[in-house]
Amino acid sequence: MAIMTVIEAVREAMREEMRRDASVFILGEDVGRRGGVFLATQGFIDEFGEQRVIDTPLAEAAIAGVAVGAAMAGMRPIAEVQFGDFMFPVFNQIVGEAARIRYGTNGKLHVPMVVRSPYGGHVRGGLFHSQSPEAYFAHTPGLKVVTPATPYDAKGLLKAAIRSNDPVVFLEHKRTYRAVRGEVPDGDYVVPIGVADIKRAGDAATIVTYGLTLHYSLQAAEVLAGEGVEVEVVDLRTVSPIDRETVLESVRKTSRALVVHEDNLSLGVGAEVSAIIAEHAFDSLDAPVMRVAGPDIPAMPFAPTLEAAYMPTADKIEAALRRLLEY
């Protein structure tokens, strides 16, 4: 078992899959000699050559659309969109096209592609380098949307994504890239898409979260544990499809649910989680399902004070937990 960061885990997953399967290739801006602006593909061009590590023109719609075409033809492209904020130019290709090709051809074609993108904030990224775009994609049937928070999950889920025969939007939280380290088994393993993970067990309440706020949630849970209150923390890992069973089982046990994410509140992934709980665990609930999320502003601003004011931090999660527990 090696200890590695999230970005190292991402790199390792891709490297192993490219060695394993000649149909896997990478395309995106600066993925070649530069190794990607976050160095996810560092060294790849030397190992795999510029045929399989393709520096593209600055044109996200083409990156996505070409990947769709190559995937239909049987390749397994990994398209890198340099920042989650630049996913909007690929919307038409991913949401409008990739997601419905299996359905729209009645199964004649399918699209085994991954769109990887570093997303999220708390990195002084300002309005256009901090976006959490997951909810847009999670609303789209035909797409799988994966948001790992740990090196172990990042590697295992990325391998699953690359092997998936349906399009996967794979969102890696930028702040976790270097800040989060963890154990990663040597060699091959896969973490299944669509399965949530209980990152901390407890019985007093359930936090449902994913991405960077998993770590902030764990910090808040730790504080309460110091007071003898054990909070269960469910890491969705995949935000579409949502693992309803794991979420509902936990809430049926704890009777209280707090949903936490960094993306803005309204119609964030938390809305669906909350709606699922409200409909299917109604009889178990001792308190309303509460949400802690970014405020309804476009994204977090650049100034450090404003960024902190946006961010759902451990403090804010802890305060909400106390409100939930006191209800």
Binding site: A64, V66, V68, G74, M75, P77, Y103, N106
Partner: protein
């Protein structure tokens, strides 16, 4: 538009571009007759309330068929990424009239999308045709991606990406053409320029008379030819296909065609297009022009033409009966094949 309408009448079988021979032209003519007959039937069935939506290929047939023959004769393998107006491509590639009509009537067994999509949309990979989407121009980068895959695997596939003049205004077309040229991919971009995007005439779509003038900005060849002229269209497509097959990269072939009917069966062109303009356009009818050429070479008679038309009518009649008799897809199919079924 730099076309030479007069030239076709003087053409003889001696002028044929390499790869195209007299039998091909007879064969293309027979296809044209069948496809025109089918197209007219579909339009009529829309007017009878049976086909919900139709985009007619009438006026585009020569361009489409010439491109298909050029692909067949000049590429070891090929693939067509079509758009909604490409009935002549799909049928010449093997979509039977019955199958086509199953699509227009949205019946079970429709081969492209299982009647989930508008007619002519979906995929028949075994017949080398893909037309994924109704969102104009999204398929151009798919075609480029298909060509990239072929190139990566060392396959000899040439990909034809069909689009209208209107589609060329889309940003994705720019991105895809540029990408293909940078990567020297085996693509032929085929623009069927009928000078209208629904009601918007070409001069309100672009400030140039030839879409092919864009090619130089991507570092690829671009040419405009008379798309109602099978021979000229074939020659231009063949050159582009050969360039692609040689690994030298993409080309842009603009085929100047006519749209005889409204944009689709939902459209009323009388509010934006003068009847005289359409009458004028009818003088370039690709069927009449090819028939004249064949007759001048002694390869077609009025009798033979009448036979062809009669046989086409019978084939389309039978297809109509078969399609009308077919059931609609079963309700519960609606939830299937969103994702791969695992396990």
């Amino acid at each position: 538009m730099a076309v030479d309408n007069a030239s076709i009448m003087t053409q003889t079988m001696n002028d044929l571009p390499s790869g195209l021979n007299a039998e091909d032209l007879v064969d293309i003519y027979a296809n044209m007759v069948l496809i025109r007959t089918l197209d007219e039937r579909i339009w009529a069935m829309n007017r009878q309330g049976k086909a919900a939506i139709v985009a007619s290929s009438q006026g585009h047939e020569a361009a489409q068929l010439a491109s298909v023959w050029a692909l067949r004769h000049h590429a070891k393998d090929y693939f067509c990424f079509t758009y909604y107006r490409d009935l002549a491509v799909t049928v010449s590639q093997g979509l039977t009239p019955t199958e086509a009509l199953l699509g227009f009537l949205a019946k079970e067994g429709e081969p492209m999308s299982g009647a989930r999509q508008f007619p002519q949309h979906g995929a028949i990979p075994d017949r080398k045709v893909i037309n994924i989407s109704n969102v104009v121009a999204t398929h151009i980068s798919h075609a480029v991606g298909w060509a990239l895959a072929a190139k990566m695997r060392g396959e000899p596939t040439v990909v034809a990406a069909y689009m209208g003049d209107g589609a060329t205004s889309q940003g994705e077309v720019h991105e895809a053409m540029n990408f293909a040229s940078v990567m020297k991919l085996p693509v032929v971009f085929i623009v069927e320029n009928n000078k209208y995007a629904i009601s918007v005439p070409q001069h309100r779509q672009m400030n140039v008379t030839e879409v092919s003038s864009r090619a130089v900005g991507y570092g690829m060849p671009g040419v405009t030819v008379d798309g109602t002229d099978v021979v000229a269209s074939y020659a231009a497509c063949a050159e582009a296909v050969e360039r692609a097959a040689r690994g030298e990269g993409p080309s842009l072939v603009e085929l100047d065609v006519e749209r005889y009917l409204p944009h689709t069966s939902d459209d009323d062109d009388s509010v934006y297009r003068a009847k005289e303009e359409i009458d004028e356009a009818r003088k370039r009818d690709p069927l009449a022009k090819l028939k004249a050429l064949l007759q001048s070479a002694g390869l077609m008679t009025d009798e033979r033409d009448a036979e062809l038309r009669e046989s086409a009518r019978r084939e389309v009649d039978a297809a109509t009966d078969a399609a009308e008799a077919a059931p609609f897809p079963p309700d519960d199919d609606v939830l299937e094949r969103v994702f791969e079924e695992v396990g």
